[in-house]
Symmetry: D2
Subunit: 298 residues, 4 copies
Amino acid sequence: MAFVAFIGLGQMGAPMAANLIKKGHQLSVYDVNRQAVEVLTGLGAKGADSPSAAASGAEFVITMLPNGDLVEQVLFGESGVTESLSKQALVIDMSTIHPLQSDRLCQKMSQQGFSYMDAPVGRTSDHAIAGTLLILAGGTEAQVEKAKPVLMCMGSELINAGGPGMGIRVKLINNYMSIALNALSAEAAVLCEALGLSFDVALQVMSGTPAGKGHFTTSWPNKVLKGDLSPAFMIDLAHKDLGIALDVANQFHVPMPLGAASREVYNQARAAGRGREDWTAILEQVRICAGLTPKIKQ
Amino acid sequence: MAFVAFIGLGQMGAPMAANLIKKGHQLSVYDVNRQAVEVLTGLGAKGADSPSAAASGAEFVITMLPNGDLVEQVLFGESGVTESLSKQALVIDMSTIHPLQSDRLCQKMSQQGFSYMDAPVGRTSDHAIAGTLLILAGGTEAQVEKAKPVLMCMGSELINAGGPGMGIRVKLINNYMSIALNALSAEAAVLCEALGLSFDVALQVMSGTPAGKGHFTTSWPNKVLKGDLSPAFMIDLAHKDLGIALDVANQFHVPMPLGAASREVYNQARAAGRGREDWTAILEQVRICAGLTPKIKQ
Amino acid sequence: MAFVAFIGLGQMGAPMAANLIKKGHQLSVYDVNRQAVEVLTGLGAKGADSPSAAASGAEFVITMLPNGDLVEQVLFGESGVTESLSKQALVIDMSTIHPLQSDRLCQKMSQQGFSYMDAPVGRTSDHAIAGTLLILAGGTEAQVEKAKPVLMCMGSELINAGGPGMGIRVKLINNYMSIALNALSAEAAVLCEALGLSFDVALQVMSGTPAGKGHFTTSWPNKVLKGDLSPAFMIDLAHKDLGIALDVANQFHVPMPLGAASREVYNQARAAGRGREDWTAILEQVRICAGLTPKIKQ
Amino acid sequence: MAFVAFIGLGQMGAPMAANLIKKGHQLSVYDVNRQAVEVLTGLGAKGADSPSAAASGAEFVITMLPNGDLVEQVLFGESGVTESLSKQALVIDMSTIHPLQSDRLCQKMSQQGFSYMDAPVGRTSDHAIAGTLLILAGGTEAQVEKAKPVLMCMGSELINAGGPGMGIRVKLINNYMSIALNALSAEAAVLCEALGLSFDVALQVMSGTPAGKGHFTTSWPNKVLKGDLSPAFMIDLAHKDLGIALDVANQFHVPMPLGAASREVYNQARAAGRGREDWTAILEQVRICAGLTPKIKQ
């Protein structure tokens, strides 16, 4: 069992720390909120007056804070973790922060001889309580290996994201996709309602197509991801269908800003000569717009 | 077995007509392309010189054409279907056309005493050949019931979309969602590449979240669809995460027009006082922007 | 003085026809609304029962109708203009219709040996009454020359747009720019209000910059239009400023969908290696995204 | 004549400082770039080794730096301005920074008993050399009054933006509007080219309409700004015209993301029941979407 300093005892942090205690680890905890600290000391943790005090002697320091500036302050500010941190200890930031700030913190820690990794979590506070979080571990192989037994006290699944900073990156991508998709889904559902179509019928249909299952595992693997852009469904036709949908939406007063933006993406793909390619060629098109090197010969 | 007139023998129509013959129906076919007609007559169909000639005496008339103007012309143009059509026959338009044009055609047929329904198909030309298309049937209960045995010769699944015009509507919604989602998925995947993150890792993570599974069956059912907007994940936080993702994307030169548009949707939701509601409240917000009556008390 | 048939006596058409009478032309008028016809006959016009009747014997036929389908019907429908039209007459469509439909009408008229030109108008119904409309003439040199004396009875300014179909095209561009600009201006003004800044102060500042004066005559002529992309104001900086503005707008709950879309345009320009070029290089960038040949060596 | 400390001698700062010297002020200058300092000492300035040294004894301290973090560091960092600053001195930040950071700096200065104002500049480095910059002064009346003689040595026009933080705010609004407008203008110009229309003709037409002159001084003052939404040009028609323009652009492969976004703004305005209001009602609509109180009774 390890000596773990846990800093940040909010809605997520408190149950995560509690699970570490339950699994037999020795905990030293800190939070600006004294009541949050008392709850944990009631469970057997040692309360500390500062990040520095909490980290003193710890083998692991876990931070679970609302933003990157707070992580930075907890590590490098007055009475911060680095004032007392052992060079043998491993700092694990489990907060969701800006990836580039995470990179800077990692680099700064490293320059001072400390070991730092990112391991943000997926799922909800209910999972934090149940100890069934999804852990997205960013760090060297050795760091991830070392952290694993501790991390798995808080989660039921750990994904090694592939290196330092990759945990926070994969969290960002996942959240980007799900948050924007939420807005797109709302457009489709509201158009459905405006057209007097049963949402259950729409769901039934979409559950069997990329509309409901996503493209990553349906339309992409045998096409653009394999370098094959021969059309199963042509960009020209997809563009035409989008135009009809937007026309209908505009007649029925359903604002569809994402749909409108996506039509212009297809429009640009056609301008680039991709009209008769498979619709999954949009991936290659967006890659090129981002300045990346083409992967597939057009 | 029935006498079916089939008009439109393209990449989809030809194998669909062939399957009707295989299942024992008597077919009369028409296409502007004489060669396409000959292929079908080789399989036992009777070739016709015009839509009118094809429809003469038929119990069912199926149209499978590239756009609504062609359907209109085939029905009402010179030597069109309605010149010879029996009032007992059922016309089934299986083309993918503009829903409002489909409505107009349905109304015009009805005014002339004819029976017309929409039944566009899902899936690909491979499924058309195999007779395993998805049929999206729009029509009265009686029409759908009557058409079913014929339609099921071409497909393996029939969804009754709930009334006249609903087949073409659900096709529109499904295509809208999948086509726009394709563009959104490309943004996420390209950001992933630009950040040096393994796409396989991203897929692994997203396959367990709404990012990969969609919202319709994950985040929505127990929240917005039940009228519960208490936050599992707050709009304020979703908005913040989108902002970070866009900031990172802009630093790494990944254009994300759909992401940018979606951030403004969340922005507007916050302006409407929804910042502390669950992110699924975006559905209710978009509904209201479309002029629909609020369903959930704010 | 000429014999003019005028078809379409709405809010714009009626005063335009009246001005032709005042200037001494002989008028024959038609509208589906009989009352509108009576107003004009009261001023000395001859009422007609159909477009064909109105056009019979006319030297000029002017159409001023709500959309292109109506123009088509008036020209080619039952009792349409072409039934009685002289091959020496000039048909002038002054309606605002879809440019490609205008092209089709022009071609069809020409194929039948008739002379047709487009001449939509700018300004408002007040100007129609005063005879001070802006006429945007699309046609051959000979057509414009011939039409001019008639057109100038209704307007105070005539711009020869450069050939058949160009009148309707320049109207489209102008309307596009002004209508979208209206939405963009609203974003700026609302951000101004949200920030507690006096709109008068903002106006005073913008009145001296491209923000108020536009780019066509300020930032573009000596830069991108001359092929010079050396930076007076770099795309990188413009992109940064847009990012700050969007950040502020999102903090103050001002939705800015156009601003968000424009940031991604600059983002893509940077991805294309234009970050250190002058901001007017956006024109060249958008040209290339539209599939046009680069004009300026990068 | 005053004793002025000038910190930040870049492309803009150097000529501004030089102009202060020319007008007879006594200058103490600082920059991290020693060569930049030497150029100014060659003109009669006193070089300083730190912001603190430069500010010692100064009546005015002017900062002209690339971003807000640098301004913060120059003021409050090691050997920063506040270490030696007199409570009687006035600090004028002429940099373009984030408005909320400017607010925080102003507040922090004020809490420490110092006087601070924002006064960013408009126009270009050529104007900085000529001493004809536009000064956007944010500060109390007393501060602006006190700063004016010094500021007017660098510029030919000073606009009092109306209070602390308002200089930087009006700069932000102006830049937002001009930068986004640049992208919108490019869409219009490229559509023009794709349609084969002479840009000179388009310019000629737009120069007489809101497309070229902007809305602030044309369509708005007698309509929405006066509370009159009776239609000179209806939102329904504007929406229709935008739809045609986007349809044409999509046929001609011209991507128009701003136009697409603006159509959805009009779409939402129609959903809100504004279809028959004047197009300037978009301002009121955007206000309401931003959570502001309606100004005009609908």
